[in-house]
Structure formats: C-alpha cells, structure tokens
C-alpha cells in the first residue's frame, strides 16, 4: 500500500472502476467547467509535508484528471500544484 506523504508513485495505481472501491482523484477545471490539462501536481496525506514540492507525482490528463491518488477509505489527501523551481543569476553583470 502506498503511503501518501512518503512519495506517491501514481504509476503503481491501477485504474479499476469497481463498485464499492474507494478511488480518489482530483480534477482541474476552469470557470466554464473545461479541463485544465498538463498541470504538474503533487498529493500527500493531509497534513504531512509536501517538500520538495516541485518534484511532481504526475500531470493532469487531457480531461484535467489526476490518476488515482488514494485507495483508502476516509483518507484525507492534500493536492498541490508542483510549480517549477527557477534559479536566476543575480550577479553584478547579469542585471
């Protein structure tokens, strides 16, 4: 069982659609209800550290969905966007 907060390997989840099974996903939508795809995200068990936050679990699919991020009933999950890190050289000659 993958423990959220300890590195979620989304590829390890299957995509079962069975009744009575708890499968949690997030879906990113804009104000018109249209999918927001290609967004890198990270999920952790609620309240645990998400650092390093820029290291994503995956990205939202064409329909805005993440893969399954929890299979444990009543588990709470925090969803973050994994924004890229950027280094800017602030040397004297650079700006």
């Amino acid at each position: 069982m993958t423990q959220l907060g300890e590195g979620v390997d989304v590829s390890s989840f299957t995509d079962e659609e069975e009744e009575g099974l708890f499968r949690l996903r997030f879906i990113l939508l804009d104000g018109n209800g249209e999918a927001v795809s290609g967004v890198r995200f990270k999920t952790v068990k609620s309240g645990t550290s998400a650092d390093p936050l820029h290291l994503a679990d995956g990205e939202t699919s064409f329909n805005g969905m993440t893969p399954v991020v929890s299979r444990t009933k009543d588990e709470e999950v925090d969803f973050f966007i994994a924004w890229a890190k950027l280094e800017v050289n602030k040397g004297f000659f650079k700006v």
Partner: protein, 331 residues
C-alpha cells in the same frame, strides 16, 4: 484572488473526483510559468536556470513569437493561422534586439555604459512576460479570456500563486519593472488587440481579414510601445540620455542604426526587406517611435501579401531558435 492550495479531499465516496476550480490567478500563474521556463534551461527534474545571455533570451523570445504566429506553439491551432499577426512582426523585432545586443557598436558602448543593452534586454524580457503570457492564456483558455471568468481584465501580479509570484518578483529588473507596467493589469489596447484576434478567427473574406490583421497589429503595437516599453525603459532618464548621445554627431558613426529587417539574418541588402528608422527619429519619444513603427508595419503588411512564402519561411527559421543556447561566459 487566487485559490488557496492545497485543496484537501476526503476519500469517502466510491470513485470520487474532487473538483479543483482554477481561477484567473491560477491560470495566469500557468501562463507566467510558461514564459520564464521558455527562457530557461532544465538542470534537474522540474528545476530550471534562467539563461544569462541577453541575446539568447532575445532569440528564444523571437522564436516564441514566431511559433505563436505559425500556430506551432503549445495550444496553437493551424486552422486559424494569421490571427496573431503582431507576433510575426514581433518575431522580427526581437530578432533585431538580439542583433543589436550582439553588434560590435553596442559591445563597444558596453565599455562606457551598459544602460542601452540592459535597457533593451529589460524591455524585451518584460514585454515578453506580458505579451506571451496573454497569448498562451488565449491559446489554452480562450473561453475564459474575454468571456467566462473574463481573465483578460483580471490580471494582476498580486493574484498569481505564491511560488509563481515569488519567481516573477525575482526575475531580472523586476523591482523596477513590474510597477511601471501596472502590475500586468491590461491596457485598453491589448483588450482591443484580442478583440481583433476573434474577428480574424471568424472572418472568411480575405480582404477583410487582412484589414483586421493590420488593426490587430497596430492595437498590440500601441499596447507594447505605450503601456509597456515607454514607461519601462524609454522614460528612464539614463536610457533616454544615452539615446540622445547616440544621435550626436560625435557618436552617431559608431551607434547602431535602428532598422527592422524582415529576415532571420541581421543585415539584409534588399531595401524591400527592411525598414530604416527616419534620421530624425527620437527612439525615446513615443510618437516619434510609433511613426516609424507605423511605416514598418505597412511594409511588413505588404510583404506578408506579396512575399508570403518567403515571410513564412523566415518565420519558420526564427521559430527554430526556441532552445538558443546560453553562453558559458556572460560578461
């Protein structure tokens, strides 16, 4: 206001999909991230470094503008090729900035002052952040640009997600740029420019379409020159002062000529393929500069009709500079 992350969901329902509704601030954050990552090299997983070389940034910017025009940029739509007409002119303009930054005259001037090259690089970077983000947004979330959540009118650096806002505030010259361009709040000209984009998309009459394209180009040009570059660099007393020195007879011989060539190369012989600024143009003066830009736009517009194959080929060449390399040593 941007949404608060993280979003927490409880796995308490069979096959639950928790909705995260992205507001304008979050969508603009994605757009901003697109712009600064385009000017960066990936150094590790989801970690990047902004390229240092000003002319490499200018080439990547030119490439991105060309890709938007050609509809080969992320989210582009070849069925509506020609809607981003300003982007084609902008590609040649940013290429020219790269040429100026590389030019011998300017490097010689480097010894005396870095005001001009820094000003050109500053203007190019922040104009790119402003205008490329708008086009990326329109490519991806057209329904929430001028309609829906109307994000075109709801853009403000303070509404970006914290990480993106922090990075934006850390970009070169941010402290003397963002407030001068009104925190990225839209001008009436850019709103008008994108209304012309919609008209171009819907126009089937080729004569009318070309008229719309020129109107789009001029509206965006007024935005970029009046709302961005004028307050950003041309009203900077140091930049304006150096521009005046360049016009003096003692320095003019070694100063670069203001010239826009419609080619991927810096200098072209064929006068049909370039527009020279009038001798009396004052680059720091908005109206003087716009008079020349109007002339250059007319010439560009003619070439896009008479030599369309040539122009598209040149733009495709420029579009190939999207990964233009940084220099090992930047001074």
């Amino acid at each position: 206001m941007s949404i608060d992350l993280p979003v927490t969901a409880k796995n308490d329902t069979n096959m639950k999909a928790e909705k995260v509704i992205c507001d304008c601030g979050l969508l603009w954050s994605l757009a901003h991230q697109f712009t600064y990552l385009r000017l960066s090299d990936e150094t590790a997983d989801n970690e990047y470094k902004l390229v240092d070389l000003f002319s490499a940034r200018a080439k990547r910017i030119a490439a991105t503008y060309a890709r938007f025009y050609l509809e080969t940029e992320d989210g582009g739509n070849p069925d509506v090729l020609g809607r981003y007409y300003w982007m084609a002119l902008g590609a040649f303009a940013s290429k020219t900035v790269g040429c100026l930054l590389d030019s011998f005259q300017l490097n010689a001037m480097y010894v005396a002052s870095k005001t001009i090259p820094r000003g050109l690089a500053q203007g190019n970077l922040w104009l790119f952040t402003d205008i490329a983000a708008s086009h990326w947004f329109y490519n991806h979330h057209r329904g929430n640009f001028q309609q829906g959540m109307m994000c075109a009118k709801n853009r403000d650096v303070n509404d970006l997600q914290d990480t993106v806002k922090s990075i934006t505030n850390d970009l070169p010259w941010a402290d003397k740029s963002i407030s001068k361009i009104n925190n990225f709040k839209p001008s009436s000209d850019i709103i008008e420019g994108f209304k012309w984009v919609e008209k171009i998309e819907n126009e089937r009459n080729p004569v009318q379409k070309r008229k719309h394209q020129l109107a789009q180009l001029l509206a965006i040009a007024e935005h970029e020159q009046g709302a961005v570059l004028q307050p950003l660099i041309y009203e900077n007393p140091d930049f304006a002062g150096w521009a005046k020195i360049q016009r003096s007879k003692w320095v003019k011989w070694m100063s670069p000529n203001y010239q826009l060539s419609f080619s991927h190369i810096c200098e072209v012989e064929d006068s049909d393929l370039k527009s020279n600024a009038p001798n009396d143009m004052q680059i720091e003066n908005y109206q003087s500069r716009m008079d020349w830009i109007g002339q250059a736009a007319e010439k560009f517009h003619g070439l896009m009709k008479r030599k369309n194959d040539y122009m598209l080929q040149e733009l495709k060449t420029v579009a190939g500079w999207v990964d233009s390399p940084d220099a090992a040593l930047v001074y």
